[in-house]
Symmetry: C3
Subunit: 258 residues, 3 copies
């Protein structure tokens, strides 16, 4: 156990991430900290939950995943330490762990309370430094997660909207935009077998195998690396081309034989 990953909405410029890394290095001088991102949009718990879903299980067992997107810092919201499939998690209890929990329903949670593993006088505005980083450092050192506090049953969740059948179409929506302007939907890629087409913003678009097969100056749908239907343009932003964004309705239907 010697690697901690770090996901925040702090940016890097102000030194808050540096403060967290310093705390972890003081507790565990040899620890390796992998930056995942500090560019989560401020307060975007839902986005951070999706981001976390893309990497947590690819890291080896024993890894500590720290996720601090925490608009409720210093209020009554709980702080959590958790374990899922032998990876460890430290995060506020605000739903940021929901996608991990979906993938691993047997996930176990404790409410962080043990003062032994946090700063002597935690501030009310920066639990990243005063609560979460020290707990992550101690988890990486080998302190069992149950030592951080009592187990809790229910945790706060943010749920994704569900796709649903309406007539002959599976109707969902855009749940995320990636850096390229690709539109990630809640339509499962497993629905796409045989001849399907996607409708978005009144446009019917083809399902293709990869980004390079999207017709030039147009858009297409691919099954992305999450196993979801994703709408992409050729070497530009599909979000811009379609004036689409999070919440835009997207549907999937079988093509009619012509």
């Amino acid at each position: 156990v010697s690697r901690i990953t770090l996901l925040t909405d702090f940016g890097t410029r102000d030194g808050y991430v540096g403060a967290m890394k310093g705390v972890m290095s003081s507790i565990f001088p040899g620890v390796i900290v992998d930056d995942v991102s500090h560019d989560v949009p401020p307060g975007d718990i839902r986005g951070a939950a999706l981001t976390l879903s893309r990497y947590w299980r690819l890291y080896p067992p024993g890894t500590v995943h720290l996720a601090v997107v925490d608009p409720g810092v210093g209020t009554e919201r709980a702080a959590l330490a958790a374990e899922a499939d032998r990876r460890f998690f430290v995060a506020p209890d605000n739903g940021v762990l929901s996608r991990v929990h979906d993938a691993c329903p047997e996930m176990r949670f404790v409410r962080i309370q043990n003062p032994q593993f946090m700063s002597a006088e935690p501030s009310r505005t920066f639990h990243g430094r005063d609560v979460f980083a020290p707990v992550a450092g101690h988890l990486a050192l080998g302190a069992h997660h149950s030592r951080h506090g009592p187990g809790v049953g229910g945790v706060v969740r943010v749920d994704e909207p569900s796709a649903a059948w309406a007539e002959a179409a599976l109707v969902g929506e855009v749940v995320s935009l990636d850096r390229f302007g690709n539109l990630v939907t809640n339509l499962p890629g497993t629905s796409v077998g045989g001849d399907y087409e996607v409708e978005i913003g009144g446009k019917t678009i083809p399902v293709v195998g990869t980004y390079g097969e999207v017709p030039a100056d147009s858009v297409g749908a691919v099954v992305n690396s999450d196993g979801r239907v994703e709408v992409a343009a050729r070497e530009r932003s599909a979000a811009d081309l379609l004036s689409a964004g999070v919440g835009t309705r997207v549907s999937l239907r079988k093509t009619f034989p012509s």
Copy 2:
């Protein structure tokens, strides 16, 4: 001694940070380099000095902190190696170490001159790669900072404006905006005991305990994790909401019993 932190205004896209990391890895193959930030606004020495103040002492003794915000590269400005409370520093002599020096007046400085610890033919435009990174690598390897050159007494400083009492109010100003649009001031949080209120931009705002207690659609003041008075809005930018920025006047006064 095996960890170097890195703070620059280089961005990452151009590969200049990669060049510095490569130099440090060649000198010390097992070194761990922690990125603090490469997003300091170009040439913002004052901002970098504040950022550095937030993490340097949280790292364990022996850490080397490298800070390269260096608009004067290649001119007569000196290059410094320094020691404060058993942490080491490498930086241009332009004030970027001023907040560390404030916190640790017994800090010691040497002027980097020993050609043994720099590139054979340093460029005049990239001392990050040719001077600062090699010195940091050798400090991390264990070369005593005094081996890098002669001690110097005076160094260049950038000072923060001071808050001052005027009538019954402590009057200061905004000294920094963080990523969330929170307005960090030079008013010490220790001034806030009992019933105080803050005035900024003609508005009187309450002092609250944490961000989540700021009234919705409004602004409030908190004592932030630096121990300073900070003005924040609820899940949005106080800077935008108040049209305020660095230099905006902020004052603190006792509330009148009503």
Copy 3:
């Protein structure tokens, strides 16, 4: 062999870089991954090739340099593992390695084909995670690059435009803008001896020694840390000041004795 550097156009926010790092950590738990940049403009192969040229050789022999700017993912473009001067490379065959190849013509390439070193079922949209990261992890562990597939002779290249003499001037162009708005040209700095001046956008500007010697409110040319002629303004963006960008014509000529 234990360090991998990472250059992508993925941004960090979506977790794709986290996924790659997770894969590498699972293959080689102690590996150190150095982020070079994830801010390459989407699909900018030429820019990434220049960035890579600035750091690859400064890292020690044995380093694995992973560069994933891959608009052709999932199409017929090959994936490459390569070796140059005892550093290793993993990248799509799209020209991103061209500047390394220029500097080291004896560079050797193999086409990645060995399924033993990639994911069981690679997606068609994210070879960074499913092909490139596993190969990089195994190279760092010590698998010889020739084990990843058959050698290839020709690879795809992106070439820089060449500077050429026209009358008494060496005529080139801007090939890159850096974060500071400095204009990097294809004019070799070795051409600048004695008294030279640079013409750009109808303006004649002096050649100076470093950024701090550029006249205030004006622009000047320096020989930059790549050994190229670069046009810079004093503490602001030369690109903005001159309305210049990639492709802008720049020429160098001897000053006339007056």
